[in-house]
């Protein structure tokens, strides 16, 4: 068990900078998820922690020791790969014990560790099978088992669930969380799936273009995104962005979306945005759940407007409604009992207490 620290880590391939100087502190026992679109450098970062890629610049520390030039086998880490990477000619038990056998552990110790891991992962009856006789989910369990038996300082997961179907993915997600709650090994987990990131992580690291956009707990990222990228990446359906500007109407701060639509800001928000320039180009960020059907008794800070719906998507628990505002497609969530129909107008309410205001040029959340 150990903490992992990255200091100004850079990875350069010939002329491409895949990772551009990232700083990251991962505490002992922590489950950290690196998330971002493909090509954002998250896998490269993980592979640098593993030692499978050299670092161009900076320092990586595991348990306080700088491991920049330490080969993977001496870093005391275990890694789970996307395509499982099980040794096809070995049985499940042999796969799991390979690392221990290389280190000449006593036979009894190996057996007890393999049995323990197999029991934990519910694959005890499969230990004599070869990988090709297993289903995708079972293979992933074996790959995790191979990591667990080593009792490493750090677990590294590289998109371990991407090859599984949606249902199995949800199930394995829970398995991974259970395993971490039991063994408490420091874990770095890479995924492009923000749902996986939110559900698994103690802290999420959102990466983009080789840089860290924001580090925070899942709730922090969701409710207090720092940038437009994080605001748009975390949450599904994604946050809506509408071009807007601020204006003063008879002494009160308003937000103007279109010629027709302008809302007074709730007092707390008005105070926060008072210093923003009135002619600055801004974006209003609103999550779909904060655009709902209008109610008979609106709460303070909730403003109403009417719009014609383009598309509706009944989801059962709620109905997603899509409409266009100033050229931007907007998604809202309404109660399924509301009579929402495509092509028909509907009166909607926006909850400005939960709004985000972004600078359109810099993408920063104000």
């Amino acid at each position: 068990m150990a903490d992992v620290t990255l200091r100004k880590v850079v990875k350069r391939y010939d002329d491409v900078e895949a990772v551009r100087g990232i700083d990251l502190d991962i505490a002992d026992h922590e489950f950290v998820v690196l998330v971002g679109p493909s090509g954002c450098g998250k896998s490269t970062t993980l592979r640098m922690i593993a030692g499978l890629e050299d670092i161009t610049d900076g320092d990586i520390m595991i348990g306080g020791d700088v491991v920049n030039d330490v080969p993977p086998k001496d870093r005391d880490i275990a890694m789970v790969f996307q395509n499982y990477a099980l040794y096809p000619h070995m049985t499940v038990a042999e796969n799991m014990s390979f690392g221990l056998r290389l280190k000449h552990f006593p036979k009894a110790e190996i057996k007890s560790r393999v049995d323990e891991a197999a029991r934990m992962l519910d694959i005890a009856e499969l230990v004599d099978r070869k990988p090709k006789q297993l289903s995708g989910g079972q293979r992933q369990r074996v790959a995790m088992g191979r990591a667990i038996v080593r009792h490493p300082k750090v677990f590294l997961f590289d998109e371990p669930l991407s090859n599984l179907d949606a249902k199995l993915r949800v199930q394995m997600r829970i398995e991974i969380k259970k395993v971490h709650q039991k063994v408490r090994t420091t874990t770095v987990y890479v995924t492009h799936d923000q749902v996986e990131a939110m559900t698994l992580a103690d802290r999420v690291v959102v990466m983009n273009h080789g840089r860290i956009e924001q580090i925070g707990t899942p709730n922090d990222l969701y409710h207090k995104p720092a940038t437009r990228f994080v605001a748009g990446f975390i949450g599904s359906p994604a946050m809506n962005f509408v071009p807007c500007r601020l204006e003063d109407v008879s002494g009160k701060l308003h937000i103007r979306l279109t010629d027709r639509i302008s809302f007074p800001l709730p007092p707390a928000r008005a105070a926060r945005y008072q210093s923003v320039g009135r002619d600055e180009k801004l974006l209003l960020g609103l999550r779909p759940e904060h655009i709902t059907e209008a109610s008979a008794h609106p709460e303070p800070g909730v403003e109403e407007f009417e719009t014609v719906l383009d598309v509706i998507e009944p989801m059962g628990m709620e109905t997603l409604v899509y409409f266009t505002l100033e050229g931007a497609q907007i998604c809202g969530k309404v109660n399924p009992n509301v009579n929402a129909q495509a092509g028909k107008p509907l009166r909607l309410a926006v909850d400005l207490n939960n709004m985000h205001l972004l600078n359109e040029a810099t993408g920063a959340v104000i």
């Binding site: 593993a50 080969p71 890694m79 996307q82 395509n83 990477a85 040794y87 290389l102 191979r146 080593r150």
Partner: protein
């Protein structure tokens, strides 16, 4: 549980035709059978002719009767050859040369292929192409300079290589190593990168990754390469003809030709028998390991 039979009333009563696809396929099959039959005849006629001739006495061969029929079958050719010390010597020389060459080839080409396909050092791609290019130089061009080299080597060191069977242990690998390395590079390339990364993280050294992961996983490819190396060394004719001359140093292909043709007298019955017996070992190996051989040669094609 009672089984139910569903009768589809709308099922067509005439035989089903699937349109142009099946017609194309039928024609493709007809052509395939036509050419396969042609090639089968083409390649099977010589061994059958050899078998027929090997069962004839010299008298019957020279009597110029129907060459495709044996009127007085005899095993005397087999008996004479198998009791001849000379023939057994050739067979023994061939066997020992081939086995050692196969061993040398595998010991060189498997680690070489592993290094070239996985260790990605400076110039490894160029080197891999270079290995293949050496295979393209025909032995008919190489034997003269090689002969000169061995002669000079003998003059300098006093170690005589020419006209010794073990000189073949040096020259045969020039044919087998490049091709086997090339086959193994292709085979290793089909093994996913994550497999060696997993092994490295598990604590395996490069050598352990090779012996404990790559060799077992690539076994079909290794067997294919082994068969190839064996066939090449067993059937090689030019090099032993050039480098060995004494009867006790000869391998079978050259031995049969030089010892059974005396001036203009051809012992056809024994030549054919010798050739048949000589073809047996590779045939037996192929028969047992055919599946591996095919799997090895097509690995790159199917695994992407």
């Amino acid at each position: 549980m009672a089984s139910t039979v569903v009768i589809d009333k709308a099922a067509p009563t005439r035989s089903v035709k699937y349109g142009s696809m099946s017609r194309d396929r039928a024609w493709a099959l007809r052509w395939s059978y036509f050419f396969l039959t042609l090639f089968a005849i083409f390649s099977l006629v010589p061994p059958i002719y050899m078998l027929i001739t090997s069962l004839k006495s010299s008298a019957e061969i020279s009597a110029a009767t129907n060459p495709w029929w044996v009127f007085h079958p005899t095993l005397s050719n087999y008996a004479e050859l198998l009791s001849s010390n000379q023939f057994l010597r050739f067979f023994w020389n061939s066997a020992i040369v081939s086995i050692i060459v196969v061993t040398i080839t595998m010991l060189i080409s498997v680690p070489a292929a592993f290094a070239l396909s996985r260790m990605r050092f400076w110039g490894s791609a160029t080197l891999a192409t270079g290995v293949f290019l050496t295979y393209l130089i025909p032995d008919t061009l190489l034997f003269l300079p090689l002969f000169k080299m061995f002669a000079t080597f003998g003059d300098w060191t006093g170690i005589q290589l020419i006209n010794r069977w073990y000189v073949l242990l040096i020259v045969y690998p020039t044919l087998t190593v490049p091709f086997c390395t090339w086959i193994m590079i292709g085979y290793f390339a089909s093994i996913p990168k994550e497999l060696d990364e997993a092994a490295i993280i598990d604590g395996a050294s490069w050598f352990q990754t090779l012996t404990r992961i790559f060799i077992p996983v690539a076994l079909p490819g290794i067997i294919a390469a082994t068969i190839f190396a064996f066939t090449v060394s067993w059937a090689q004719f030019l090099y032993p003809l050039v480098f060995t001359t004494s009867v006790d140093q000869l391998v079978m292909p050259v031995g049969i030709v030089t010892s059974l043709i005396k001036g203009d007298v051809f012992a056809w019955g024994q030549i054919m028998t010798g050739a048949l017996l000589g073809a047996a070992p590779p045939l037996i190996i192929y028969a047992f390991l055919m599946d591996y051989y095919i799997a090895g040669l097509t690995a790159g094609a199917t695994k992407g």
